[in-house]
């Protein structure tokens, strides 16, 4: 019962992650939404599997996989963002910057 509830939460967050990857234009926003939502989906699916089998050695192994992912996923996101920033991708989109400037001039 609890396991099915966590699986349903993971469906919602998987859908949000795929939609957000196509919705945003800037690379940094994509990194933000993808890493956060992927972590929540991972967390909920592994908790669902742990609740399904109870307390065994395999559940400890599942929690070890979860711990490894929680350590390495932010590292990967930080490496990708830092590499994009060093190689000259601007932090703000040129389109949104020009729109903001026009709104400031009009006001």
């Amino acid at each position: 019962m609890i396991s099915n509830f966590f699986l349903m939460i993971s469906w919602i967050f998987l859908l949000f992650g795929v939609i957000g990857l196509f919705r945003f234009k800037s690379i940094y926003l994509k990194i933000l939404v993808a890493s956060k939502i992927d972590t929540v989906a991972f967390f909920s699916i592994i908790l669902a599997l742990v609740f399904r089998i109870g307390l065994q050695w395999e559940s400890l192994k599942l929690l070890a996989i979860l711990l490894f992912f929680l350590i390495t996923s932010p590292l990967n996101s930080q490496f990708i963002g830092r590499s994009a920033l060093i190689n000259g991708i601007p932090l703000k989109d040129p389109e949104t910057v020009s729109k903001d400037d026009q709104e400031l001039k009009e006001s």
């Binding site: 469906w11 795929v18 990857l21 992927d38 192994k61 992912f69 590292l75 990708i80």
Partner: protein, 85 residues
């Protein structure tokens, strides 16, 4: 429930693969690779639970280590200028 989750994960991997092939810059491709590796670990875990075969847990742990090393080494290579240096 587990079968539907496997189906949804396969659809997500397919849609992200389109993003992986048709992205303009290389960092978006590495981001898609990162997402695909994370979802593959989940897929291995769910297939192992559906078949009642717990050896898939070890394979999933190994695959997560390999995915982390791939993304880290490629980004370290690109951070110092890549092939144009």
């Amino acid at each position: 429930m587990i079968e539907f989750t496997i189906l949804l994960l396969l659809m997500a991997i397919g849609i992200i693969s389109i993003k992986f092939i048709f992205s303009p810059t290389i960092w978006e491709r590495i981001l898609a690779l990162n997402l695909i590796s994370g979802k593959t670990v989940l897929l291995l875990l769910l297939i192992g639970f559906q078949r009642d075969n717990f050896f898939f847990l070890d394979i999933a742990l190994t695959f997560s280590i390999v995915g982390f090393l791939a993304v880290t080494l490629i980004t370290r290579f690109l951070m110092e200028g890549g092939r144009q240096k």
